[in-house]
Symmetry: C2
Subunit: 80 residues, 2 copies
């Protein structure tokens, strides 16, 4: 599945699956690089075989145009 709305439409969330912990962490680092480039930072949860990225704008407690831009870019080529 792609990006989904969560928390009554106030957050974008997406989960990727991976074959182990190292691949999930590598993906998380790519998302982190993109976040630094954009100057906009997601909340990330990951562990063995998965990574979930949550994007929202803390200042407004909801979604802003920047959130959709970060989401669109947060699909590195190595993602499963």
């Amino acid at each position: 599945p792609g990006w989904q709305l969560a928390d009554a439409g106030n957050r974008l969330t997406r989960t990727w699956k991976f074959g182990n912990f190292a691949k999930a962490l590598a993906f998380v680092n790519k998302v982190g690089e993109l976040a630094e480039e954009e100057g906009h930072h997601p909340d990330v949860t990951f562990g063995w075989g998965y990574a979930t990225v949550e994007i929202w704008t803390h200042k407004i407690g909801g979604l802003h145009e920047n959130d959709f831009i970060l989401a669109a870019k947060s699909t590195p080529p190595t993602a499963s």
Copy 2:
């Protein structure tokens, strides 16, 4: 605060604070290295200024000796 029990005593959890996103991600990578060395993997949530590590043994749905070993080691020198 140090490690705390969560989920009715079935998980160990601890949160660290950082000055920005990059420092949180750097800490997460150190925890990831330790996890690979131990062959035991936590669930990690992080974002701008924080990282939360949850440790438990999925196979038994609770805590095992290995969880406490990983927790004891998951305090890299760079942690705030």
